[in-house]
Amino acid sequence: MGKKNFRSIFIGNKRGSRIYKETRIKDPDYISDIPVYTDVKPIGYRYGKEYRVIPEMIPDIIVPDLTDCPLKPYVSYRANVAVQEEFTAKTLFSFVYEEKIKKDFANQKLDASSLPLEPSDAESLSSETAYLEARKTGSDIFSERIPRHWECLELKSDK
């Protein structure tokens, strides 16, 4: 890039309307290494004139402690990166259940309907328990909808 006095370069921030940011990108002095963010996700909703911030919508970036982490941003050219097969539900099933089933079959520990006589933890897991265990995490990102703003009208009375 060459020697530049960084104070004289306007790096910019998230502020500014979309049109302003678009004109900045087309500017000949624009440095493409420093990005201009035009796609900012909302952190709430507009209710009439006011804008209501929902704290849960503000992204919380959690970065783990990276001291002594052997993984770095780039991969060395020397590494022979092997092509791995796709990890499907079938692979997971075979990893968790296959060995036990084969052993039970060999030792005749399966009953008339091919169910195990001595089930392991994974085999005795019912679908209801598994569903509840998965929901215990409390994460509603995939299971529950984000409420629309008109559905939040009830909250107004709480305030």
Binding site: V75, R78, V81
Partner: protein, 213 residues
């Protein structure tokens, strides 16, 4: 009818005149600043057969009949630059008082008509075909003698390394032994459950039943 999308003219190769200056250089930018020049017609080559470090014979010009080593390749123009061949004199650093230093600059040669690969067994020109060996390796075979002409090692050279195994790992590079290690242990857990386990979060409460109507 209202046109909602603006007309976006795609950038075509004809909009640029490719030269011996690489596209990211200032010289290329200067050459392509003005109006786009007339299109250069290039013969499309299906299997590119000449690589850096190959011995070739020059078929035209002052150096006709001479052998040289390929030092640079420009696939966009079907050009090669043969080291020390097909040169011309030019001056560098000319100014009002200084006449400039005279240097030799090689001119590019067309791969299709002006240059030909040399068979190492008898040092004569030959046409080359790509074939597969018994091991499944794709190799160049001379159509005249039938001898395999191996691709030179200089063809796999890059700015970062001469040979991949000789690459010097930097601070931001993950070491090769770390990359090759497989540490994935499949478990009967969802992604969220796995994160909870690794963070040591324990949850006893069960969520209430919810219904979709």
């Amino acid at each position: 009818m209202i046109q909602y999308l603006p007309y976006q003219r795609k950038r075509r190769t004809q909009d640029f005149r490719f030269t011996t200056n690489r596209p990211w250089t200032q010289e290329f930018k200067r050459e392509n600043e003005g109006l786009p020049r007339s299109e250069v017609f290039i013969e499309p080559i299906k299997d590119w057969s000449i690589f850096r470090g190959d011995r070739v014979e020059i078929l035209v010009g002052r150096d006709k009949g001479k052998h040289g080593i390929v030092s640079q390749i420009f696939e966009e123009r079907n050009w090669v630059i043969v080291n020390g061949m097909n040169w011309y004199y030019r001056r560098i650093g000319e100014s009002d008082d200084y006449p400039g230093t005279i240097i030799r600059q090689e001119l590019p040669l067309l791969v299709t008509t002006e240059v030909s690969l040399v068979d190492p067994s008898d040092n004569k020109i030959t046409k080359v075909v790509w074939r597969y060996t018994e091991d499944g390796e794709k190799v160049r075979v001379s159509s005249r003698t039938g001898r395999i002409i191996p691709v030179p090692a200089a063809a796999n050279e890059t700015y970062d390394y001469k040979v991949k195994s000789a690459y010097l790992e930097g601070d931001k590079d993950t070491k090769s032994d770390v990359v090759e290690k497989v540490t994935f242990q499949p478990e009967l857990k969802t992604f969220d459950m796995d994160v909870m386990k690794s963070m040591g979060i324990e949850e006893d409460r069960t969520p209430k039943k919810s219904y979709w109507y």
